[in-house]
Symmetry: C2
Subunit: 358 residues, 2 copies
């Protein structure tokens, strides 16, 4: 029996959609009834598919045409080449414009699948079924899709909103500890950027969350998605406010690019990036140095990295950050904190300041 | 001195844009002032670039960053692989989100460039500078972008409207006769689907058009673009009316796919496809058989093919048409004429009818 614990709505006019949070949702036909048509392309990866695709198939029931595409697992496969293999399969099986792509997996599967749906026959529907904590609280909500390029992460993509997001917290029980912690880094981010009470709640409840207690998990996911949904509703295409969701990401992307995608998990790079952003915020006098230390301790409890790779020089860092999408007219835009739970985008950080920090 | 002969507007709310038609427009800085920022990526091909890119550069003047990407010439290069080479260059030169792609060339360049702009950093601005008649009256207006796949034409793409379209009819003087005629096939299409007086005008003025007399050309392009703009404004994403623009295209795409892209020109395949559509319309009693003969004669005068390739069997035709994007829930949708200048989409054409026709 499925247990629907929360339903959120991302409000985007005719592109609005529900986010369902609960237990045993994957096999619930009622949740697919409104968002999937006669033809379906299920996209997953070789790790997730054996665990969950049968449940999704059970939920979908009999359809005119169901195709299952299983991708290799890993951020290093989030490429145009992998995207091309999806199109090969879907075209070989003759899916039409009325088909719906269903992404079953983590952020990589969701991003590739969403971008494939954005481009297939110039755009078809898709549904997100995120099975990692990172994807549940971050990439599955908001419509950012895309693939990486050797010269930069997420450089090729589209804004394409899903028709629905199904978050089944049961999937978190099978998640490796490293991936779970990486996802929890993004949960911490929501507290830092927009919700200080939630951040304090996280400091208190982190042991329960790390023990994967269901009530705490559902609460953390619901509060994270609510903030994400509100920010996306206010700024769908990242004209302004949405940029605060990138706390730690400009530093983090530089780390991921330097190490080659797939070495550090995205959430691990973001964790270190958030700590750097808080250090910079403290240097500017916006927050107390104790908050930096508090975050460092929480990240350590979560087994997340708190230092950039030793092999990265400050020069390399600054060079890679200069290639980030957040560079506008030559000025690096960084998300810093004005205070705890209060993020702001600044464009006045100098290379000297960066060099001193790094 | 540039001579602006007509300005049309494609009305799409915040995505509205002007279509400029005239002579010596390419080098006119005034036309770029509103639609191009500090960074520019000029995309062209090896045939067109030596002829026109210098003029476009002159019109653009001094900019912070100008990158010229020259693609190989031909529909067979309208692929994901070619698209990837565009991203390689643009990322290597570090274009940011504020960059503008400028497509200088025919439909292939415009489609690839528009799709690259749709996907680069999840969407940047682009401007169409079509240098073939086909691109001027068809693909440059309306926001359809994309690339081909071995299993189907334009199967991967996006709706992404340009910021402006610059149609310089001087570029038509250098166009090879075969390409000119292929473009004129699409001009004839506008008469057939929506503007019988224009169709009669074309029957009368075809000798002047084939002699590339400027006044006649400007008139034909303006009337074609006006119909295209009106149809696109009414139905941006091909929910209904826009489908009438595909008269002859479902047959034509089957021919192009069977022959391998690049053997028949798109407009040549469409010409034969339109004739097949008119034959079907006459068989159904919608138009007089004389109109079929009239179109056949006009197409012959234009040196356009009026027969499908001998190597194609009816079975192959029907099979390839079944893969077309216009198939919805297993029903083939075809554009036929209810009368001259009056197109309609039907979904009740049987395989038997098709087999008899083909």
């Amino acid at each position: 029996m499925s247990v629907l614990m929360h339903t959120l709505h991302v409000e985007l006019g005719e592109r609005s959609y529900p986010v369902y949070i609960g237990r045993q949702l994957l096999a619930d036909p009622a949740l697919y009834a409104d968002c999937v048509g006669a033809q379906v392309v299920i996209v997953s990866n070789e790790t997730v598919a054996p665990l969950y695709v049968d449940r999704v198939r059970a939920g979908l029931g009999e359809r005119q045409l169901v195709t299952e595409v299983v991708l290799p697992d890993g951020e290093q496969y989030k490429t145009l080449d992998t995207l091309a293999t999806v199109f090969d399969r879907v075209l070989a099986e003759r899916h039409n414009r009325g088909t719906t792509f269903v992404a079953v997996g983590g952020g990589v599967v969701g991003d590739i699948t969403g971008f494939a749906a954005a481009c297939y026959q110039r755009g078809v529907d898709f549904v997100q079924v995120p099975t990692t904590l990172l994807a549940q609280v971050d990439s599955s909500v908001g419509g950012k899709t895309g693939v990486n390029h050797p010269l930069g992460k997420n450089m090729i993509g589209a804004f394409h909103q899903p028709r629905a997001v199904l978050i089944d917290i049961d999937t978190l029980q099978s998640l490796p500890r490293r991936e779970f912690s990486a996802g929890m880094a993004e949960v911490v981010k929501y507290g830092l950027i927009a919700d200080e009470p939630f951040y304090r709640w996280l400091q208190e409840h982190m042991p329960k969350l790390l023990a994967r207690e269901e009530a705490a998990l559902a609460e953390a996911i619901e509060r994270s998605c609510a903030t994400k949904a509100a920010v996306v509703a206010a700024d769908e295409r990242e004209g302004g406010l949405r940029a605060i969701l990138n706390l730690g990401h400009t530093f983090g992307h530089a780390i991921e690019t330097a190490q080659g995608y797939g070495q550090w998990l995205h959430g691990e790079a973001v964790a270190t990036g958030m700590l750097l952003a808080l250090q910079m915020s403290a240097r500017r006098g916006n927050i107390d140095e104790r908050e930096v230390q508090g975050l460092r301790e929480m990240l350590r409890d979560m087994h997340l990295p708190t230092e950039a790779p030793e092999s990265m020089s400050a020069e390399q860092f600054i060079d890679l950050m200069g290639r980030d999408k957040k560079v506008v007219d030559g000025r690096l835009r960084l998300v810093l904190l004005r205070g705890m739970g209060d993020a702001v985008v600044v464009d006045d950080v100098t290379e000297k300041e960066l060099a001193a920090l790094l």
